[in-house]
């Protein structure tokens, strides 16, 4: 296993823990997007460009939007 993969494994583990421990919902949207970005790099290192591409577009646009809208309704209504 090359050192790049080991470093990314550590980053993914830290990212998953960080997403779970974030309580503020706006920060949670951004944190989940960042975790998606770390997953994209990890998928690329595992030689899976198709999966990395789909996780990239989903984690950049899809997830933050739905989380932010749900957060706004939870706070505002």
């Amino acid at each position: 296993m090359i050192p790049l993969q080991a470093a990314l494994i550590a980053l993914v583990a830290a990212g998953a823990l960080a997403v779970v421990l974030t309580r503020n919902l706006v920060r949670l949207a951004l944190m989940s997007s960042l975790y998606g970005l770390v997953l994209v790099v990890f998928f690329l290192v595992l030689q899976a460009p198709d999966v990395a591409l789909s996780e990239l577009v989903v984690g950049a646009v899809g997830f933050p939007l739905v989380i932010l809208v749900a957060a706004a309704i939870e706070r505002g209504g």
Partner: protein
């Protein structure tokens, strides 16, 4: 050392479960569910990995080069896109819960009437 990616998948799954159990907000709970789902992507792609191999795309490399397994990548890529809509459905349920019960705390949503 060679089981580290599988241990990573187990760790991510347990982190997601921990988030679900200790959550104080339904939105946070749904996001932790999606984190637990991402552990399956990591597990699938780690199983298909071949040492010193490239991606299974032969557009510009000769035909016989070593490549990783394409089947698990096919399973994972549709799963990633579909998981967003399922998370959207769960968050729509959260929005409805907020409108009906006025709160999204799972401990206070003990009984949903009618």
């Amino acid at each position: 050392m060679s089981y580290l990616p599988y241990a990573l998948a187990v760790w991510i799954f347990l982190c997601g479960l921990f988030g679900v159990v200790t959550s104080r907000s339904l939105v946070h709970l749904v996001v932790c569910l999606s984190v637990a789902q991402s552990s399956t992507y990591v597990l699938l792609l780690s199983i298909g990995y071949v040492d010193r191999a490239g991606a299974p795309i032969f557009a510009d490399v000769p035909k016989g080069t070593r490549a990783v397994d394409p089947v698990v990548q096919a399973l994972t890529l549709t799963d990633v896109v579909v998981s967003v809509t399922v998370v959207g459905l769960l968050l729509a349920l959260t929005i409805q819960a907020k409108k009906e019960a006025g709160t999204t705390d799972p401990d206070k949503l003990a009984s949903m009437h009618g």
